[in-house]
Amino acid sequence: MNESNTNPDKQNNSAKGTSGMDIKIYHRVNRLKMKAGGSLNGGPGRLDPNAVDKADVVIQNMANIYPQELQKALSELDEKWEEARGMAENTREADVEMMSNLANQIKDLAGLFGYSIMEYFAASLRDFILESALNREEHVVIVQAHVDVMWVVYRENLKDDAGPVAEELKRMVAEAIEKYS
């Protein structure tokens, strides 16, 4: 293979365009296909369906760890929230980033194992933190509402985002957002 063929500095085959724009297109050899055992002129390939199933089994096998992993993440969120709450408005930047990141991790975790109600509140918290930057004292109430509700969801082991309990919790958070935003 000749790597230099793709290097514009080593070639002199450019055409002068009329628009004066400098556009280059690099058509690369598909090394990945070759590496995977495919033929460059062949059609699309596939992965062993058993391997794909095995990859999903990894998630199923980890499902029993979800409660303890969630508790760990919620405790970390609590800790960061304690720190952020004790600080003056507009000085919470570092904590805001950490908290939004933790909320995002909780969303990932809950989504992975199908806990849609926890995923919903974690995403809501993350988005609220990122949008508001927690720069007003009233925002404390909204974050606290999220954190409280997420602990309830954890303790009650709620999974679906439908049903009377889930709807009631969503309503509580929505009211806090509406009142204090």
Partner: protein, 223 residues
């Protein structure tokens, strides 16, 4: 929801203003619709692949690593931030001057990370001077399913974008897409990355593109 570049392309066809800045269609772009009807004739082996996985969340990193192993990936390197990944890529690139050291075939990176985001990492990779780095395929994984995030990933030069939660099916779909549907790389004054259009599509109305084929310098790598 698994919104990805395909869905974005479907929506983008209606936005002719954006198309106006694009180079003329590349003759090598595959027709995805045709491909879908083709029967997969080879079962790939990924044992010689080296993947760099970048995710700040350790639990998720461990799960994705195990899933990649289950899919048969031979070598998996892991980093917990964009910064760490940049350091590793720098060392790997320098080591590759020794022919025995293998390069990284694919980067899988989380979008939102506190210490060097996925966005920072793509920018660094696509702006790197070395062919061994800047052509590396990148798959972004993100908890954000918004069109805005998917478009941003594409416009920074990601090859694929996968919305969490991860699954074996999703991972394999995006890895296969990178193997089977590589797009030519396009370099314009403000973009370097895989061609942002994944398929040729007719459009309604006036053709607002200002370039013609004379404006495009094509480089064909040979085997």
């Amino acid at each position: 929801m698994d919104l990805d570049f395909d869905e974005i392309d479907e929506n983008k066809g209606k936005d002719k203003g954006e198309e106006a800045e694009k180079p003329s269609p590349s003759p090598s772009l595959p027709d995805k619709k045709t491909e879908k009807t083709e029967k997969a004739d080879t079962t790939y082996s990924l044992k010689n692949f080296t993947i760099l996985l970048v995710d700040d969340y350790e639990f998720m990193r461990n799960i994705i690593t195990s899933m990649l192993r289950a899919l048969g990936i031979g070598n998996i390197l892991v980093c917990s931030s964009g910064k760490e990944a940049i350091n590793l890529l720098t060392i790997t690139e320098a080591s590759q001057r020794n022919a025995a050291v293998k390069g990284i075939d694919l980067i899988i990176a989380d979008w939102l990370m506190p210490d060097g985001s996925g966005q920072d990492l793509i920018k660094w990779v696509r702006n790197h001077k070395s062919d061994k780095i800047h052509f590396t395929p990148i798959m972004m994984i993100s908890a954000y399913a918004s069109k805005k995030t998917i478009i941003a990933a594409r416009d920074f030069g990601a090859n694929e974008s996968m919305v969490k939660p991860v699954s074996g099916k999703k991972l394999s779909k995006h890895i296969l897409s990178i193997i089977d549907n590589p797009r030519p790389f396009v370099k314009t004054p403000d973009f370097f990355g895989p061609d942002r259009r994944r398929k040729e599509k007719p459009f309604l109305g006036e053709d607002k593109r200002t370039m013609n084929t004379d404006d495009i310098e094509a480089h064909h790598e040979r085997v």
